[in-house]
Symmetry: none
DNA sequence: AATGAATGAGCGTTCATTCAT
DNA sequence: TATGAATGAACGCTCATTCAT
């Protein structure tokens, strides 16, 4: 957690540091992201940096927190209480959120992607692994609820399906970023259909 | 590309260097992988290293090439002329290959995963992007062929579906590695079903 | 010398600062002792520290002064007018005091030891050298008085003897600390005998 | 241990590094002795330093080793097989060695003193503590042998006496350094006399 | 071709002290 | 007087690469 000092400084300066840091972490791996670069680009003395943050990790986790918080803003009523809504509606909303967020915050999305991707790296692991497990188990719950409610095929493997949805949710973002000419709503609908009915004739 | 000198040295030594490098790149990210470690562990002089390879990147790309080739061998030995087979048989076989490869070559799989995951990193991007595009377009061809042959639903978005298969194919490996108690054949069948018929009741 | 502000603050706070500083200087050498640690542990603002003390050295010298004063209290309460007593009685009493002090104030003793040991270090040298010279010359006076009174051998070199006593007095404390199973009174008696009659048969 | 590199460089450069390092360790505590100072003063690049030595500790231990070796030269030439000689002759010779060494190698003596003095510091502790225990137990052996041979008073406490001789041996060096006008041989004789017969009339 | 020493930029972090409020 | 933010020099050490032999 940043020290209080950081929250008390000139907001403009604070924003500058944040933006520079976001850029640094977007462009480089945690290990390679350079505090020296950050302070140089943000125009602050090295000593000041350590007045604001405990250490490099502290800054990183703060940035990650910002990303998460920003993403949270996008979450809709349906995704907040997923169990009360129909399964494919929830999936639809989650995709919509992911795509909209990626559209509006490409740098945050980049960091977010890095987090999810870099499963091997200690610092990412630390931050991610809990998240991932939570996400997977929440997906699984939803799936099993969907089966109970009769929305989903009772023969599917809920563990595997949770994984597939998890990975699919990420891939659709990549797809949308790489194919900006597609219509967002259509992409989402196609995606949900694929999940729903498969691809066989 | 390694220099000629590398191909002229004692094959045993060459193999040793390769194995040590694989281990290093498996354990650490490109940036953190240490030439110093590699030469120390492989027992070769530092000067020699630079006789064999232009630089760190050269070595990395060489190792990646090996991984690719090794994987390709797996694939080509097993999936000949995919277009002559039925779509879901091809998918089934490809999954089987991927899982078997991951089982038999965990280090190569680890590097391979790192590559695919780390889409943002310059060095990975450079190496990966071409590959990824090739894979995606091959999937797309297969899908369109499947539609033509009447195996697949003609309403599906072939671009998006290619992405889905691409991401599913990766995720199933992760799933299988993380859940070694599941039966391989069952996992694959469940996966193919999922793809085929979706998850809706 | 601490600034007046230091003497004006809440006595409890003053005592807390002193105790924390004693602990810091006991645990670390002057150079490594950290003002940051001290203020953090004492719970005072950094600015305040520099209101109380000129700088690190100022604090250190103050603490040393306290140690000296504390030790002096011990000594003056117990060894009054040494010149009026018999030489070996004085030695005996001084040893007793030194051992008792070490027993009762292990942290102050530790700092004290550090001071005496680290003869080379500038800061210690500065503080110590005067003390040491005073001690040596007082010992010498005592010795010469002892000779005059006929208690001591008139052939001994009073300079060298003063050094011997100085070093013995320190070593006996170390010995007693390192060998807590020995009986204090016996240790002192053995020491005085050694000094008195030497070790030759 | 320095790396081979260090032994292979230009002897003049090597000697320069050694001398600079000796000066640095003489003037500053281990923690405060600065590699940056050393390389700057010795005119070598930082990278080169780490070609020669593993790290700061490595350099320090090397310097300590030099001191010990140098001192050993003095000792072995003079105090061979102490147990075959008379006790006070051995003490006499040891003092002579200590004084002569201090005379001829004041900087090494300074480091040596620092080592013996700084009993609290981790790095010194590590190097010293074994030495100290060995010295103390060898003194004790000598003392007990002296008692057996009838040279020493059988009533003395051999543990305490060993400590006293240990500390005395150090103090005499200080004395001699601080009082260079005294005659060496006389100082030694006086010292031995004090030990032998004590100071009582 | 083989070797391994030379190089210096770069790393994250701590520090005692100053200074503006 | 009290505060705590600002400061930048300094720390030990690692690194990939170059170069002389």
């Amino acid at each position: 957690m940043p020290k209080n000092t950081f929250y008390n400084i000139n907001p403009e300066k604070r924003k500058r540091i944040i933006n520079i840091a976001i850029k640094e972490f977007k462009d480089s791996h945690y290990e390679n992201a350079s505090i020296n670069n950050i302070i140089k680009n943000a125009g602050i003395p090295k000593g000041s940096f350590y007045q604001y943050f405990e250490n490099k990790k502290d800054l990183f986790e703060y940035i990650i927190g910002l990303v998460r918080k920003e993403k949270l803003n996008y979450v809709t009523e349906r995704v907040r209480n997923p169990k009360e809504y129909r399964f494919f509606e929830v999936i639809h909303d989650m995709s919509n959120i992911a795509l909209t967020f990626a559209e509006n915050h490409p740098e945050l999305q980049a960091i977010s992607e890095k987090l999810v991707q870099d499963r091997d790296h200690d610092i990412y692991k630390e931050i991610l692994s809990k998240n991932r497990e939570i996400a997977l188990s929440e997906y699984r719950e939803l799936i099993e609820l969907g089966i109970t409610k009769g929305e989903l095929d009772s023969n599917i493997n809920s563990y595997l399906t949770a994984h597939m949805i998890y990975s699919y949710n990420r891939e659709i973002v990549t797809f949308y970023i790489e194919n900006p000419n597609f219509n967002k709503e259509e992409v989402i609908n196609d995606y949900v259909s694929l999940l729903q009915y498969g691809i066989a004739k």
